[in-house]
Amino acid sequence: MHKHNSPFRVLIGKPGLDGHDRGAKFIARALRDDGFEVIYTGIRRTPEEIAAAAIQEDVSAIGLSSLSGAHLRLFPAVVEALRAAGVTDIAVLGGGVIPEEDIRQLKEAGIDEVFTPGTPLEVILEAFRSACRQQRKTHQP
């Protein structure tokens, strides 16, 4: 549960054409059970659509999922779309079938955290909580 009055808002997005949404749906539901307000985009969204939805829904963090190997193109594209809209305070987290050696590249491109298969749920929830707390700190007067 969150210590603030209003719950944290996050968006779970599936960029690209990958239809494996078991993980994304699980994370969305687990976040809801933890007290987050969660918007799930559904599958087959463009990075631009995901960034626009995140801005419109005023979320604190975005979780991206891809299992098709397209993460190196698609995850950074979401960050770029946010920046192009002048938004720099929405955290971007990612997960999926992601080889270890890609993680640094993703982080350099502005992805805050990357989760690989087998990561305990609590680690992921805590990353979302911490990203949202951080955003709220910088966001609030």
Partner: protein
């Protein structure tokens, strides 16, 4: 003991005929001590209940298998799903697999191909050549099967919404090799209903999708009689998180929908039903999986006979491909996955599969390396040639536990199918979200059990170690996308524009009538119209499905 008349009838009619046509692999099957292993172990007394529930292999209700001698006659087809990057790269992998003793090909297409986008479409960004091979036109397909004799190799293609386009390309490539369509063997997945609930590569709404599927049934019935026109798939439903019972129920409910649609279009049941194939998941709960395969086989036979009135025995046979469960693979201690795959593959074989794909140990990390694929294939070969389970038919039959579980899975699947039919059928249940919710709830419960430690996954929430080094993974060349896009642009410059345009206009006109579209699609692919161009014509006419 007096000889049972059902047994005698089976021996005289079914078994004798089969042995005459397909001799068994060996004259005698024996153990190391030289004792003979019986073809088919039976209860002391064959009563009516035995005959009704289990019967004899190759006979209704096929609980014990679809062939009278099963693997004593012929082993299952070892068919490894593969494909990545370009047609040329994938062609190399296929030829490697054939050299290593794989007995059928299974083509993985990349996501743009599966969703009917050319490689230069904005939605294709980053996805070209990633999870399979990129095919934009007949030119790519020609390269994909270069030096592979389509007359003898059977090919399975995992393609759904644009199945007609890829099958037409396959037929066209065969023609160029001098192979008539009548000789082609293989399977197209062509199962769009499960895409809406589990796999996500839908293009068109359900009704026009069902029309395309029925068009394929009809065209293939007349032209490619040895090709399986659909692979009705529970695999992805299970991967999305369903239980074993849900996998059987949703798959067979989809099967019922395809059969009913084809009947409504005037097709003849006993002509098209024998070319329906199935595709299931083999997960780690070995005994439940064996029971699942047996239950699915019996239930489909009953549905075809009792509900649809099939006369041809082949219409009642549930023939299936199996893939081991991708969702059970772990990124931790990846060699453990070889053991998981062994259990799962064994379940598929004990359950009587007709073909099998074994996953590779490194697939929770990336596409498999060549070494890992070889071990996965060797796993099948060890089961086939060393384990001894292939020497007798349906070895687990008669186990109290297995038979109870088989009965229970069948009963519960029937209840779930009835629920779907009461709710107005599969299409209504998809539009309402009923099926998706069932799968989602089962997936959530499963994952919660792992998180709480109630369900142990070795190496993940138990018996963990610190792993020093990461195994090598297969990387798809990032230049593959650029090269594919360049080749496509080159193709568009060299083909005959007027003929492409005319073929697409013909297709457009036909799509607005009730005509069978196969011949129009075949004509367009032969002019090197691209997959995206053909699908765009159909998008214009049929509209696109949107997930809600």
């Amino acid at each position: 003991m007096e000889k049972n008349k059902d047994l005698t009838e089976w021996q005289d009619k079914v078994l004798a005929k089969s042995l005459a046509r397909f001799p068994e692999r060996r004259k005698q099957f024996t153990n190391h001590g030289g004792d003979e292993i019986p073809r088919l172990a039976l209860p002391e007394e064959i009563d009516d209940q035995y005959v009704r529930l289990l019967g004899f292999p190759g006979s209704y209700p096929y609980t014990r298998g679809v062939q009278p001698t099963m693997y004593r006659g012929r082993l299952w087809t070892m068919r490894q799903y593969a494909g990545f990057s370009s047609a040329a790269e994938s062609n190399k992998r296929y030829r490697y697999l054939l050299e290593q003793g794989t007995t059928g090909l299974s083509v993985a297409f990349d996501l743009p191909t599966q969703i009917g986008y050319d490689s230069d479409h904005p939605m294709s960004l980053g996805e070209v050549g990633k999870v399979g091979v990129a095919i934009d036109s007949l030119a790519d397909m020609e390269m994909l099967f270069e030096q592979i004799p389509l007359e003898t190799v059977s090919t399975s293609m995992t393609i759904n919404s644009p199945a007609m386009v890829l099958l037409a390309m396959y037929v066209a490539v065969a023609e160029k090799q001098g192979v008539a369509p009548q000789k082609l063997q293989g399977t197209i997945q062509n199962d769009v209903l499960k895409e809406y609930v589990a796999r996500g590569t839908y293009i068109f709404p359900p009704q026009p999708s069902l029309r395309l599927i029925t068009n394929i049934f009809q065209w293939c019935g007349e032209n490619t009689p040895s090709f399986n026109t659909i692979s009705i798939s529970g695999y992805h439903i299970r991967e999305a998180g369903s239980t074993a019972v849900q996998e059987v129920a949703f798959t067979l409910a989809n099967g019922i929908t395809y059969v009913q649609t084809a009947l409504d279009a005037g097709l003849e049941l006993d002509v098209f039903a024998r070319r329906l194939a199935f595709f299931f998941n083999a997960s780690s709960d070995l005994l439940e999986e064996v029971a699942k395969f047996r239950a699915a086989r019996r239930l489909w036979a009953r549905i075809m006979k009792e509900k649809f009135g099939a006369q041809n025995p082949a219409s009642c046979m549930l023939r299936f491909h199996t893939q081991t469960a991708g969702y059970t693979l772990t990124a931790q201690q990846i060699d453990n996955n070889i053991v998981r795959v062994t259990l799962q593959a064994l379940a598929a074989v004990l359950g009587g599969t007709q073909s099998l794909h074994t996953n590779s140990r490194d697939e929770a990390l990336s596409l498999p390396t060549e070494d890992s694929v070889r071990t996965a294939l060797r796993t099948q070969q060890i089961i086939a040639h060393e384990s001894g389970v292939t020497n007798t038919v349906d070895p687990l039959a008669g186990s109290y536990f297995i038979e109870q579980l088989t009965d229970r899975i069948e009963r519960e699947a029937v209840e779930l199918i009835d629920k779907i039919e009461q709710a107005g059928g599969v299409v209504a249940a998809i539009e309402d979200g009923f099926i998706q919710r069932q799968i989602e709830n089962a997936a959530y419960a499963y994952q919660k059990e792992i998180e709480s430690g109630e369900r142990m996954i070795v190496g993940v929430n138990g018996f963990q170690i610190t792993e020093e080094s990461r195994p090598p993974t297969l990387r798809v060349d990032p230049e593959a996308e650029t090269m594919q896009v360049a080749a496509l642009s080159q193709l568009k410059k060299t083909r005959n524009h007027d003929r492409v345009k005319n073929s697409l206009e013909d297709l457009d006109r036909a799509a607005r009538t009730d005509a069978n579209l196969f011949a129009y699609v075949l004509a367009a692919v032969k002019e090197y119209a691209t997959l995206g161009e053909i699908c765009d014509v159909l998008r214009q006419v049929f509209g696109e499905y949107k997930q809600h």
